[in-house]
């Protein structure tokens, strides 16, 4: 097992720490603000109870995982001997550029430097670096110790070896990497989510469906198959001759409605009154935190179910 550095110990950095420590790595966390690292290990200790109860710590005790996470006072200590550095500072281009300059100067030349950014292209904050060949984005969905998918996004100058080592590192840690061929705004997952949300907001804005109808259609409908197959395998199994047969039979349904998808609704405009009223009626604002705890418990139970189902029926 290897040394892994976490730079920036907010919510995302802490969640990555759990994922990498669970995989057996020695994780060193650093944050420029001592206040941020101060509560990090206690927070992680509190979080680990549920994954332990759901057998999602690879059979390890909480203390074994926690014992591999160290908070360090100096950035150089975190980086020393690390094979992988995961950066989690604020989504601000200037901050990223400075942090990457600093890390690139201090880290061994072979160390991969990955950013958790969800919105910034890697070329925008690594172009000036001597070691830009070993820089890229590894974008998780939160929290990464419960959601395997992570996007690997190379800049034009990221070496193939860096991409390949990152992919292998993630797979070894139990992740499911999506490896982009080249960078693109929104990466893959936010583009897919965005496409679906655009239509969801349009349907609500135009008065065809309620917010809850959309959620029912996904959570009690489409996402059931998607949650273990994805959208391409879903349509591949939805026609006798596979995906080509599906497209030949049904593409016209979709191409006929495409022209109605060219109009964008401002999500923060009139429609937000409807969306917010519906959501707040179902879940008062003061219950959001409690509901987030519920979401993570459900995610955990789902992860345990998928693991069991993978074993019983195959992936």
């Amino acid at each position: 097992m290897a040394n892994v550095a976490i730079v920036g110990s907010g919510f995302i950095g802490r969640a990555w720490a759990i994922s990498f420590a669970r995989a057996g790595h020695d994780v060193r966390m650093w944050d420029q603000s001592p206040a941020a690292t101060g509560g990090a290990r206690d927070y992680i200790a509190g979080v680990l109870g549920d994954p332990a109860a759901n057998d999602l710590l690879r059979g390890q005790a909480i203390d074994a995982v926690l014992g591999r996470i160290t908070v360090v006072a100096e950035l150089v200590e975190a980086l020393a001997g690390a094979v992988h550095i995961q950066e989690n500072t604020p989504e601000n281009l200037e901050v990223k550029r400075e942090v990457f300059s600093l890390i690139d100067r201090l880290a061994d030349p072979q160390t991969v430097i990955a950013s958790s950014t969800s919105a910034l292209l890697p070329s925008k904050f690594t172009d000036h670096l001597q070691g830009r060949y070993r820089c890229l984005v590894v974008h998780p969905i939160n929290p990464p110790y419960l959601i395997p998918a992570a996007e690997v996004v190379p800049a034009p100058w990221t070496s193939a070896e860096t991409v390949e080592r990152t992919r292998a590192f993630l797979i070894d840690a139990g992740h499911a990497p999506l490896v982009m061929q080249r960078e693109l705004d929104g990466f893959i997952m936010n583009r897919l989510q965005g496409a679906l949300l655009e239509e969801a907001f349009r349907l609500v804005a135009d008065g065809y469906a309620s917010v809850e109808d959309v959620d029912i259609g996904i959570r009690d409908g489409l996402a059931l198959r998607w949650s273990f197959m994805g959208p391409f395998e879903t349509i591949d199994l939805n026609a006798p001759g596979g995906v080509r047969d599906y497209v030949e039979r049904y593409q016209s349904i979709y191409s006929n409605i495409f022209p109605q998808m060219l109009r964008r609704v401002d999500w923060a405009g009139e429609v937000m009154k409807t969306v917010e009223a519906d959501r707040r009626e179902r879940l008062p604002r003061e219950s959001l935190g409690e509901r987030q705890v519920w979401r993570d418990r459900r995610l955990m139970a789902l992860a345990a179910h998928k693991k069991k189902s993978d074993q019983e029926y195959g992936r």
Copy 2:
């Protein structure tokens, strides 16, 4: 419990029969082709084993459910005394118009007549009927005994009472109805699925992602939360202040990429070579049938998991 009629006993009609019989209704199936009804009960008997093993028959034995399904030789027998008629004939407008004429003439004036069509608007095949006020679409995702969502789509002349009775009937049978305010091509679910697929095909056509990357991003990423919350609740919980806060923070990511979504890729064009090659490499054509059995087993296990998780953590 009530009498329910199934008109058209192909795959969808049989699946509805299971759902309604499981709910305690007496189901009478009719098909204009005796060959279609001939194997229907044997088929259903074979299918019921898995839901029984996963405790998805509301605690009933297979024989109890099967005992409520009768194949009848005449349409009038099927319709006699039915509170709900579910029509499942081929997706052909002329066929639907004729079948609805026939049913409307024979059925009691208070009986709801619902079509399973996925593509035809109810106004297109009910406008000429005396009883058009009690006609509408109830579109399932297959198979409806494993996937709760069903779209309720009224024509302009469908009575509010018909919509309300249909909603109540579906909920009572364990379904999760999405009730559209008015008809629209693609209804809700195929529009949401289409929006996501358009972006998926574009990403593959443009060489940014592989088919498998898209499937990973959904099945190991986005669809995990969607499978128990839906997309609106997902974003509502993804910012400290709820959905409005989420949109204020992140809408620019999505509005920036929207202009790139105005171009449609022909799914059957060049990109299909890539999509089909990837899918057939992972799953040879001759294994599609076996994989469909796998899919239904996984769906069943997921349904059992969700039921348990609903009880343990709440919905």
